[in-house]
Symmetry: C2
Subunit: 224 residues, 2 copies
């Protein structure tokens, strides 16, 4: 159900066609949600049937583009969703991390390649997200200008800051992944291609509570 609200949210500041939404979603202002055209077009039709958005095709337009706008009802529904209490946190499902968890049996060269790909991936995203955040601060982002157009003068700084913080979260995530990968690569450099390691980057934590990692049973005696 989140694609629905991602589309609605996008359209709430800037009317757009399905094609434009697809483009922007792929790499643009909607860098938080990716979707394929085959999912976007039917969803827009459903949204229109619900009366949350309204599409218009200009009869003179030979490309029969359908440009959608959010209705008053749609705006209310978006605000209800945004303000809702149900957490939208998705289930933990991090395939790359799982891969890394089981990479210890691979050659160090394989581990290094994995980390370099990880780096490349997040460096690209960092650049993209940072550009968005900076454009919002600088006031050069088009959608942000649309948003501020119908906004009381005294609230403009507030709205801009909230939008910045949204992208700031993504920026920090990318930065974290990059420093994580770099740290491991630096550690692997010290190890010099051998798994016979003495240099340990982790020290045993001081236990403050006898809280174990797996079961609540302490290791006093194994069952059976």
């Amino acid at each position: 159900m989140s694609l629905r609200y991602a589309l609605l949210g996008f359209l709430s500041t800037t009317p757009a066609s399905g094609y434009m939404l697809g483009r922007k979603f792929a790499s643009g202002a909607g860098a938080m949600w990716e979707a394929f055209p085959s999912q976007i077009y039917p969803e827009l039709r459903r949204l229109e049937k619900l009366g949350w958005i309204e599409g218009k095709t200009s009869p003179r337009d030979k490309l029969r583009r359908r440009v959608y706008q959010v209705t008053a009802l749609g705006k209310r529904e978006l605000q209800n969703w945004v303000a809702g209490d149900e957490s939208a946190h998705p289930a933990e499902r991090d395939a790359e991390r799982v891969r890394f968890l089981f990479i210890d049996r691979s050659d160090i060269a394989v581990i290094r390649r994995h980390l370099h790909r990880h780096l490349a991936h997040y460096e690209q995203r960092l650049e993209q997200w940072r550009a968005h955040r900076d454009a919002i601060v600088a006031g050069t982002q088009e959608r942000m200008r649309d948003r501020l157009a119908d906004c009381p003068e005294e609230e403009k700084a507030f709205v801009t800051t909230i939008k910045c913080f949204a992208f700031e979260g993504l920026v920090r995530h990318a930065e974290m992944e990059i420093s994580w990968a770099k740290e491991i690569l630096a550690w692997l450099d010290k190890v010099k291609g051998k798994k016979n390691v003495k240099v340990l980057p982790f020290k045993a934590p001081r236990q403050k509570a006898p809280r174990t990692g797996g079961a609540q049973k302490s290791r006093s005696k194994k069952a059976r």
Copy 2:
């Protein structure tokens, strides 16, 4: 296809039944991948048909538990996946972040509630992931002991460190989300319930990319 390898990876150190995998996946050693029983059981059967795992039901077991072990073929397939070049980074699809992006029209009380839920969510995960990491360092995690059992003495430190780093990534992500939310809450405190804001946490970035070849623009005065 990742559930397949998550299951395979888990079973590669510790034989387990479908039920146990479901439990561990929900909140345990497999805190990186969540799955429902209705997905786990059929996948295990498929894996068995492929010959990657082998299940045994003890005839004396009235609960007819089916305990699976990874075969030699399964271990090879797992290593092939782990070492694979295709990036398993999922499409960007962060519903909570999208929500925050469109929260600027809501009351500040609503924004605060949203951030408090965000905090609660990641504080819980942080505790869970930190416990795992610490248990691995301390050598008290059961699955880690299984992994180290058939491991040459001189490689134990290496393997332990890799596993730690895997959970360290999750720990840092949770820490980032927590400090992100706290920062925004602190900013909202300064604002004191009004959207008429003067306190700006972001300053306009120095432009480096669009170098127009003239004088450097010093601070643009407040975004529009």
